[in-house]
Structure formats: structure tokens, C-alpha cells
Amino acid sequence: MSLSQAVLNQDRLALSRLLTRVENDSEEGRTALNELFPHTGKAHLIGITGAPGTGKSTLVNQLALYYRKTDKRVAIVAVDPSSPFTGGAVLGDRVRMRDLSGDKSVFIRSMASRGSLGGLAQTTAAVVQVFDAAGFDVILIETVGAGQAEVDIARLAHTTLVVEAPGLGDDIQAIKAGILEIADVLVINKADRPGVENTERALRGMLELAHPAKRVFQHHGQQMVVEAAENSDSQNLIWFPVIKRITAKDGIGIDELGEAIENHVAFLREGGEWAARERDQLRATFDALIRETLFKHFLDDLSAEGYDEIISKMAARDISPWGAVESLLKGKES
């Protein structure tokens, strides 16, 4: 039986082994991805991102428990950074997820970023596809601890949660502009800590700047602002990011957060945004594959010496990188 068939039959060891093949981008992995593709497109992909130490893993643990209450099968892909020097990694997200061990309907896979800079590994999207085909209903994707620019997750996930915590500083608005834009739901974790009001105010202020068109209430109290934000979803125009306070370590606020995520799913489905996001994802995958395949295709015909020779010519200013590419392309055509 092929590996992909075994995965479709819910063989967990086969699933695990296939994930390794896919992560290593092996021939076998690609063949299986090709076979599994018709079975994908069913899962709800939820991205969880935020700065290191804001409680992403703890939140993922709680969300998995939340979805297990409704008997959904949950897969977790947790990405941690690889060392830029040795390629090694310590993947520690499982430490926060021990509540989930012993439940065969939860599958946790740790991934090292392996040099990728967008907050995910190169093959995270493919790994997620395997889980999707294997019949997991919800796939939680936890990025590396993110700063400003790690926004790849928004392209992969249907719903993106950005996790914040009190005490990260007053300059939060300036620093977090990039990552705030991708949030469908903003989660303020550690809400039992002092300063949570300030964090919420800062985030709310930032959201108003990012979505000025949808801002109706400018200077009202918190309660009214929350209402205004959530009412706007039912109009099906633009999704206005929701802010939710939680204390993940005690499981406080998780049900409300889960509801906000369900609202977002409903919004995506009703407005046709779900299909649009799917197309974006497929386009990104397709583009990346074309780029990579053509790159390999051209280099295949070039010996290592030939390649070195071109570089030497460039160093001697005999040929420019642009000219070299052009002659390479011409060589291919003839």
C-alpha cells in the first residue's frame, strides 16, 4: 500500500513518515502530495502568530481542547526557528501542550523553520495539506515568535490570530503595524496582568488607523467600541478585526475566542472570501513551484564547472548577471 493510501486510511505512523518526506521535499513526498491533493480543501486552517513569549503555544493547547469538545479532529503544526549557523533547532512547543497527550484525535508536529524567514518553514504549507487530506477538521498553525514582517501565515491560514500580551511597551503601535494588519482576531493573552487596559487601548487605536473606513465610533468607551467592531461582520463588507482578552494558562476567555473564530468562518463563507483565500493560497503554491522547478531545470544542464565559470566571468566584469541569464535562456530555446 502506498504511503498516501495509508494516510487516507488514518494510519498514524504512515502520516508521520509522510510528513518527514514532505518536510524534506523528497521525491516520494511530492508524489504523495500529488495523490493526496484531491482530498484536500476541507480543513479550517487557523494561524497563530505573535512575539516570542506571548503565549502562542499555551493558546494552541487551549484551542485544541476547545475543538475537542465538539469532537473535531485537530492537527497542530508548530514552527520554531532553526539556528542560522548550525541548522539545528530546539523545538519546545510541545512542552505547553501536555494536556493533549493521550488523545488520538490530536496530532502535534513540530517543524524547524530551516532558514525560511517568513515565520513558517518552506514546506509548512505542504505539511498542512497532508493533515488536510488525512481528515483533520481543524489545523492550528503556530508560527515562530514573530516580530514585524513574518506575515506568511496570513497567506496560508483562513483565520489568523495575532497574540499580544500586556507590558510589551507603549511603542506597541509603531512596532506592530505590519503584523497587526494580518490579524483577523487580535488576542490579548495574560489578561490577568496589570496594564491590559493600556494594551487594549493601544491596539484599538492602531486598528482604527488601519481600517479608517469602517470606524464609526471614535472616542467611546470600550464596551461600545467592541460592539461596533463585531456588528460590522454581519454586514458582510469588510471583516473588522475583533479583540479578545484571554488568560490562556487558566483557559479563561477561550470559549468567547472560539466564537469569534466561528464568526470569522461564517463571514468568510458567506461573503465568498473563503474561496478567494483558497485561490490565493493555490496561486502562491503554484508560483513557488514554478520558480523552483524552472530554477532546477536550468541548473540541471549546467555543470558545476560551467556555473563557476560564469561566476568568474561576472567577477572579472566580462559578463553581467543579466547578460548571463539572457544567454542561458537563449541556450534553452535552441
Binding site: 505512523l13 530546539v90 510541545r94 493521550g102
Partner: protein
Amino acid sequence: MVAGNIRVLVAKPGLDGHDRGAKVVARALRDAGMEVIYTGLRQTPEMIAEAALQEDVDVIGLSILSGAHMALVPRILELVKTNGQEGIKLFLGGIIPDDDIAPLKEMGVTGVYGPGASTEDIVTDIRAAMAETA
């Protein structure tokens, strides 16, 4: 078979709460270019075998200081085998009496390391064990 990085599960089974050694080893393996999945304290054999299955690791590294190794190790080896992962190499560190080392190796433990063992030796031994299976 190991085309990508060597993947190692570092776990502390049993009830003792000293994970300094496990962390030092995890760090050393990271610096040797391995991908280390660290699971933390107080893991049951079932939790360790399940994590090894989900993560498709090549190596399990256990740290046991409580003296319970003769009970915990065979159970973990058995569960890993039941899961179909006979190929996993098991390394053990901690306080292990000399007399226990031979029986542990008999059971299928690849390497045993006590206080003062060098992390370089551990790295070398793991690499050697991986080269053997490749």
C-alpha cells in the same frame, strides 16, 4: 533514510524534577545541527512513545535521575516497538549504576551516559548510530 536533519526527542520520564542535564544535551545537539524536540518534565512512557510517533524522530534521548530506569526504559522500548518504530535509537543519561548498563544495552539502549560525560561524545555516538542505519 535520514535525508533531512537528524530529529531527536529529548524527554524526562518519571518524577524527578531536574532537567538541567536534559537541557544541556538538547542545546548541544542543536549546536551539532540536529532538530531537537523537547518535551519537558514528568513524561509518562506513553507520552514519550506518542511524541516519538508524531514527530517521526530518529533518536530518543532520555534523562533519568530517579533510579527508575530499569522500569521506565523497557516500557518505552516496548511501546515504541508496538508503534512500528523499531528503528529508533534510544540514548540514556542520568544516574545509572554501572551494573545496570549491560542489561540496559541488552534491552536495546544504544548509549548510556553518566555525570561528566562529554556532549561531544553523545553527538559522535548519535551520528555513528545514524550512519549505521542509513
